[in-house]
Amino acid sequence: MPGQDEPGLGSDAADPLVRPYVITQGRQNSGTVRLDMISVVIAARAEVDEMALEPEQIRILELCRRPQSVAEVSAHLDIPVAVAKVLLGDLIGRGYVLARAPYTTQSPVSRDVLQAVLDGIQRL
Protein backbone atom coordinates (compact mmCIF):
# COMPACT_ATOMS: atom_id res chain seq x y z
CA MET A 1 0.00 0.00 0.00
CA PRO A 2 1.53 3.31 -0.96
CA GLY A 3 2.07 5.88 1.74
CA GLN A 4 1.99 3.34 4.52
CA ASP A 5 5.49 4.20 5.59
CA GLU A 6 5.09 7.91 5.06
CA PRO A 7 6.97 9.80 7.75
CA GLY A 8 4.39 12.52 7.41
CA LEU A 9 3.12 14.92 9.97
CA GLY A 10 0.25 13.66 12.02
CA SER A 11 0.79 10.09 10.89
CA ASP A 12 -0.09 9.08 14.40
CA ALA A 13 -2.12 11.60 16.31
CA ALA A 14 -1.36 9.88 19.63
CA ASP A 15 2.40 10.46 19.33
CA PRO A 16 3.72 13.25 21.52
CA LEU A 17 5.05 16.24 19.63
CA VAL A 18 8.80 16.06 19.29
CA ARG A 19 11.02 18.85 18.12
CA PRO A 20 12.06 18.18 14.53
CA TYR A 21 15.76 17.63 14.87
CA VAL A 22 17.91 18.85 12.06
CA ILE A 23 20.10 15.78 11.90
CA THR A 24 17.20 13.38 11.77
CA GLN A 25 15.63 15.53 9.07
CA GLY A 26 12.54 15.82 11.16
CA ARG A 27 11.94 12.11 11.31
CA GLN A 28 10.58 10.56 14.44
CA ASN A 29 11.18 7.02 15.50
CA SER A 30 8.77 5.30 13.15
CA GLY A 31 8.26 2.43 15.54
CA THR A 32 9.46 -0.18 13.06
CA VAL A 33 12.34 -0.90 15.40
CA ARG A 34 11.69 -0.66 19.10
CA LEU A 35 14.91 0.47 20.67
CA ASP A 36 15.44 0.70 24.40
CA MET A 37 18.06 2.86 26.05
CA ILE A 38 20.03 -0.33 26.71
CA SER A 39 19.32 -2.18 23.49
CA VAL A 40 22.75 -3.31 22.33
CA VAL A 41 23.70 -2.43 18.77
CA ILE A 42 26.56 -3.55 16.57
CA ALA A 43 27.58 -2.72 13.02
CA ALA A 44 26.66 -5.49 10.58
CA ARG A 45 29.21 -6.80 8.13
CA ALA A 46 27.58 -5.11 5.19
CA GLU A 47 28.60 -2.96 2.25
CA VAL A 48 27.87 0.57 3.36
CA ASP A 49 26.84 3.32 0.98
CA GLU A 50 28.25 6.21 2.98
CA MET A 51 26.88 8.76 0.53
CA ALA A 52 23.38 7.86 1.67
CA LEU A 53 24.15 8.44 5.33
CA GLU A 54 24.33 11.37 7.71
CA PRO A 55 27.81 12.11 9.12
CA GLU A 56 26.50 11.08 12.54
CA GLN A 57 25.45 7.73 11.15
CA ILE A 58 28.92 7.09 9.77
CA ARG A 59 30.29 7.87 13.25
CA ILE A 60 27.76 5.46 14.74
CA LEU A 61 28.94 2.68 12.40
CA GLU A 62 32.56 3.31 13.45
CA LEU A 63 31.57 3.31 17.12
CA CYS A 64 29.52 0.13 16.73
CA ARG A 65 32.36 -2.06 15.55
CA ARG A 66 32.15 -3.19 19.14
CA PRO A 67 28.77 -3.74 20.82
CA GLN A 68 27.37 -0.53 22.34
CA SER A 69 24.14 0.34 24.06
CA VAL A 70 21.90 3.05 22.62
CA ALA A 71 22.76 5.14 25.69
CA GLU A 72 26.49 4.84 24.91
CA VAL A 73 25.95 5.85 21.29
CA SER A 74 24.03 8.86 22.54
CA ALA A 75 26.73 9.81 25.06
CA HIS A 76 29.67 9.34 22.67
CA LEU A 77 28.07 11.34 19.89
CA ASP A 78 26.68 13.89 22.33
CA ILE A 79 23.18 13.62 20.93
CA PRO A 80 19.94 13.01 22.86
CA VAL A 81 18.82 9.40 23.25
CA ALA A 82 15.72 10.08 21.13
CA VAL A 83 17.91 11.27 18.24
CA ALA A 84 20.24 8.29 18.57
CA LYS A 85 17.22 6.00 18.37
CA VAL A 86 16.06 7.58 15.11
CA LEU A 87 19.51 7.42 13.49
CA LEU A 88 20.00 3.82 14.66
CA GLY A 89 16.51 2.80 13.58
CA ASP A 90 17.37 4.04 10.12
CA LEU A 91 20.66 2.11 10.08
CA ILE A 92 18.88 -1.04 11.26
CA GLY A 93 16.31 -0.56 8.50
CA ARG A 94 19.12 -0.46 5.93
CA GLY A 95 20.69 -3.61 7.38
CA TYR A 96 23.83 -1.77 8.52
CA VAL A 97 23.26 -2.28 12.22
CA LEU A 98 21.93 -5.22 14.26
CA ALA A 99 20.25 -4.82 17.63
CA ARG A 100 19.49 -7.02 20.59
CA ALA A 101 16.70 -6.17 23.00
CA PRO A 102 17.58 -5.99 26.71
CA TYR A 103 16.42 -8.30 29.44
CA THR A 104 13.11 -7.17 30.83
CA THR A 105 11.13 -8.01 33.92
CA GLN A 106 8.30 -9.09 31.63
CA SER A 107 10.47 -12.11 31.01
CA PRO A 108 11.88 -12.68 34.51
CA VAL A 109 15.59 -13.21 34.67
CA SER A 110 16.69 -16.75 35.29
CA ARG A 111 18.77 -17.89 38.24
CA ASP A 112 21.60 -18.46 35.77
CA VAL A 113 21.58 -14.81 34.76
CA LEU A 114 21.48 -13.67 38.39
CA GLN A 115 24.38 -15.97 39.21
CA ALA A 116 26.34 -14.65 36.22
CA VAL A 117 25.73 -11.06 37.37
CA LEU A 118 26.83 -11.98 40.89
CA ASP A 119 30.00 -13.67 39.61
CA GLY A 120 30.73 -10.73 37.31
CA ILE A 121 30.48 -8.20 40.13
CA GLN A 122 32.57 -10.35 42.45
CA ARG A 123 35.33 -10.52 39.83
CA LEU A 124 35.67 -6.73 39.73
Binding site: D36, A71, A116, G120
Partner: protein, 194 residues
Protein backbone atom coordinates in the same frame (compact mmCIF):
# COMPACT_ATOMS: atom_id res chain seq x y z
CA UNK B 1 14.98 -14.07 26.53
CA UNK B 2 14.17 -11.23 24.19
CA UNK B 3 16.41 -11.15 21.19
CA UNK B 4 16.24 -9.65 17.76
CA UNK B 5 17.64 -11.50 14.83
CA UNK B 6 21.37 -11.51 14.43
CA UNK B 7 23.56 -13.07 11.82
CA UNK B 8 26.04 -15.77 12.74
CA UNK B 9 29.42 -14.35 13.59
CA UNK B 10 27.98 -11.06 14.77
CA UNK B 11 27.39 -11.90 18.36
CA UNK B 12 25.53 -9.29 20.36
CA UNK B 13 25.44 -9.43 24.15
CA UNK B 14 22.20 -8.65 25.95
CA UNK B 15 22.07 -5.85 28.48
CA UNK B 16 20.55 -5.65 31.92
CA UNK B 17 20.35 -2.62 34.19
CA UNK B 18 20.47 -1.64 37.81
CA UNK B 19 19.28 1.79 38.92
CA UNK B 20 21.19 3.93 41.38
CA UNK B 21 18.82 6.39 43.00
CA UNK B 22 18.99 8.99 45.74
CA UNK B 23 18.81 12.69 46.37
CA UNK B 24 20.92 15.29 44.62
CA UNK B 25 24.57 14.96 45.63
CA UNK B 26 24.02 11.70 47.54
CA UNK B 27 26.81 9.98 45.62
CA UNK B 28 25.03 8.23 42.75
CA UNK B 29 27.62 8.96 40.09
CA UNK B 30 30.43 8.34 42.57
CA UNK B 31 29.12 4.82 43.21
CA UNK B 32 28.69 4.18 39.48
CA UNK B 33 32.25 5.38 38.86
CA UNK B 34 33.64 3.18 41.63
CA UNK B 35 32.63 -0.05 39.86
CA UNK B 36 32.22 0.93 36.20
CA UNK B 37 34.79 -0.30 33.68
CA UNK B 38 34.34 2.94 31.76
CA UNK B 39 34.45 6.50 33.02
CA UNK B 40 30.77 7.23 33.70
CA UNK B 41 29.11 8.62 30.60
CA UNK B 42 26.38 11.19 30.51
CA UNK B 43 23.50 11.15 28.10
CA UNK B 44 20.67 13.56 27.58
CA UNK B 45 17.05 12.99 26.95
CA UNK B 46 15.02 15.91 25.64
CA UNK B 47 11.43 15.93 26.80
CA UNK B 48 8.53 18.13 25.97
CA UNK B 49 6.66 19.50 28.94
CA UNK B 50 3.74 17.33 27.86
CA UNK B 51 5.81 14.30 28.85
CA UNK B 52 6.40 15.78 32.26
CA UNK B 53 2.88 15.01 33.33
CA UNK B 54 2.12 18.66 33.85
CA UNK B 55 -1.59 19.14 33.77
CA UNK B 56 -1.67 22.05 31.43
CA UNK B 57 -4.60 22.45 29.09
CA UNK B 58 -3.45 25.69 27.53
CA UNK B 59 -2.41 24.11 24.26
CA UNK B 60 0.52 22.83 22.29
CA UNK B 61 1.99 26.24 21.61
CA UNK B 62 2.83 26.40 25.31
CA UNK B 63 5.07 23.34 25.20
CA UNK B 64 8.66 23.80 26.17
CA UNK B 65 11.46 21.29 26.24
CA UNK B 66 13.46 20.09 29.20
CA UNK B 67 16.74 18.27 29.11
CA UNK B 68 17.36 15.52 31.60
CA UNK B 69 20.89 14.21 32.07
CA UNK B 70 21.57 10.62 33.04
CA UNK B 71 24.93 9.29 34.17
CA UNK B 72 25.70 5.66 33.62
CA UNK B 73 28.46 3.09 33.74
CA UNK B 74 29.07 -0.38 32.40
CA UNK B 75 30.27 -3.73 33.75
CA UNK B 76 30.88 -6.51 31.23
CA UNK B 77 29.63 -9.67 32.92
CA UNK B 78 30.57 -12.14 30.18
CA UNK B 79 30.46 -12.50 26.39
CA UNK B 80 26.70 -12.62 26.50
CA UNK B 81 25.80 -10.13 29.21
CA UNK B 82 26.52 -6.48 29.96
CA UNK B 83 25.33 -4.73 33.11
CA UNK B 84 24.54 -1.01 32.99
CA UNK B 85 24.27 1.12 36.09
CA UNK B 86 22.09 4.19 35.70
CA UNK B 87 22.16 7.06 38.13
CA UNK B 88 18.58 8.28 38.15
CA UNK B 89 17.70 11.96 38.40
CA UNK B 90 16.75 12.57 41.99
CA UNK B 91 14.37 15.45 41.54
CA UNK B 92 10.64 14.92 41.83
CA UNK B 93 9.88 16.58 38.54
CA UNK B 94 11.67 13.83 36.65
CA UNK B 95 9.38 11.03 37.77
CA UNK B 96 8.33 10.38 34.16
CA UNK B 97 11.91 9.44 33.46
CA UNK B 98 11.88 6.85 36.20
CA UNK B 99 8.92 5.09 34.65
CA UNK B 100 10.85 4.42 31.48
CA UNK B 101 14.14 3.77 33.24
CA UNK B 102 12.66 1.35 35.74
CA UNK B 103 11.10 -0.82 33.04
CA UNK B 104 13.01 -4.05 33.00
CA UNK B 105 15.43 -3.04 35.75
CA UNK B 106 16.90 -5.92 37.72
CA UNK B 107 16.74 -3.86 40.88
CA UNK B 108 17.79 -0.59 42.47
CA UNK B 109 20.17 0.88 45.00
CA UNK B 110 18.82 3.82 46.99
CA UNK B 111 21.66 5.92 48.34
CA UNK B 112 20.77 7.58 51.61
CA UNK B 113 22.72 10.68 52.57
CA UNK B 114 22.58 10.96 56.37
CA UNK B 115 22.94 14.73 56.12
CA UNK B 116 19.59 14.79 54.30
CA UNK B 117 17.94 11.47 54.91
CA UNK B 118 14.56 12.74 53.70
CA UNK B 119 15.99 13.27 50.19
CA UNK B 120 15.80 9.54 49.52
CA UNK B 121 12.14 9.14 50.64
CA UNK B 122 10.74 9.60 47.10
CA UNK B 123 13.08 6.90 45.75
CA UNK B 124 12.06 4.43 48.45
CA UNK B 125 8.36 5.19 47.79
CA UNK B 126 8.81 4.72 44.07
CA UNK B 127 10.51 1.34 44.19
CA UNK B 128 8.16 0.04 46.91
CA UNK B 129 5.12 1.03 44.84
CA UNK B 130 6.51 -0.52 41.67
CA UNK B 131 7.57 -3.72 43.39
CA UNK B 132 11.16 -3.25 42.21
CA UNK B 133 13.61 -4.96 44.59
CA UNK B 134 15.99 -2.47 46.19
CA UNK B 135 18.59 -2.09 48.89
CA UNK B 136 19.47 1.05 50.82
CA UNK B 137 23.11 2.09 50.90
CA UNK B 138 23.81 4.67 53.59
CA UNK B 139 26.63 6.76 52.22
CA UNK B 140 28.87 7.62 55.13
CA UNK B 141 30.19 11.07 54.37
CA UNK B 142 33.18 12.25 56.33
CA UNK B 143 32.12 14.34 59.26
CA UNK B 144 28.43 13.52 58.93
CA UNK B 145 26.51 11.99 61.79
CA UNK B 146 26.73 8.20 61.73
CA UNK B 147 23.44 6.45 62.15
CA UNK B 148 23.06 2.82 63.10
CA UNK B 149 21.29 0.58 60.62
CA UNK B 150 18.18 0.29 62.77
CA UNK B 151 17.91 4.07 63.04
CA UNK B 152 17.89 4.37 59.26
CA UNK B 153 15.40 1.51 58.99
CA UNK B 154 13.07 3.28 61.39
CA UNK B 155 13.47 6.63 59.70
CA UNK B 156 12.68 5.13 56.29
CA UNK B 157 9.98 2.84 57.72
CA UNK B 158 11.47 -0.16 55.93
CA UNK B 159 10.47 -3.75 56.55
CA UNK B 160 13.10 -6.17 57.81
CA UNK B 161 13.40 -7.74 54.36
CA UNK B 162 14.96 -4.67 52.75
CA UNK B 163 18.74 -4.81 53.22
CA UNK B 164 20.44 -1.69 54.57
CA UNK B 165 24.20 -1.25 54.31
CA UNK B 166 26.54 1.38 55.58
CA UNK B 167 28.79 2.18 52.63
CA UNK B 168 31.33 4.48 51.11
CA UNK B 169 30.37 5.26 47.50
CA UNK B 170 33.99 6.13 46.66
CA UNK B 171 35.29 2.69 47.52
CA UNK B 172 35.13 -0.03 44.89
CA UNK B 173 34.93 -2.78 47.51
CA UNK B 174 32.10 -1.02 49.28
CA UNK B 175 30.21 -0.38 46.03
CA UNK B 176 30.74 -4.03 45.01
CA UNK B 177 29.31 -5.15 48.34
CA UNK B 178 26.25 -2.97 47.78
CA UNK B 179 25.65 -4.50 44.33
CA UNK B 180 26.24 -8.05 45.55
CA UNK B 181 23.74 -7.49 48.37
CA UNK B 182 21.22 -6.21 45.82
CA UNK B 183 21.59 -9.19 43.47
CA UNK B 184 21.25 -11.61 46.40
CA UNK B 185 18.18 -9.70 47.55
CA UNK B 186 16.71 -9.98 44.03
CA UNK B 187 17.29 -13.74 44.17
CA UNK B 188 15.58 -13.93 47.59
CA UNK B 189 12.64 -11.88 46.30
CA UNK B 190 12.23 -14.27 43.38
CA UNK B 191 12.32 -17.29 45.69
CA UNK B 192 9.74 -15.89 48.08
CA UNK B 193 6.10 -16.66 47.31
CA UNK B 194 4.27 -13.53 46.20
Amino acid sequence: MASNDSEPGEHIPAAIKILIAGGFGAGKTTLVGAVSEITPLSTEEVMTEASLGVDDLSGVEQKTTTTVALDFGRITINDDLVLYLFGTPGQDRFWFMWEELSLGALGAVVIADTRRLEACFPSVDFFERRGIPFVVAVNCFDGAHRYAEHEVREALNLTGQIPILLSDARSRDSAKQVLITLVRHVADTMAAPV
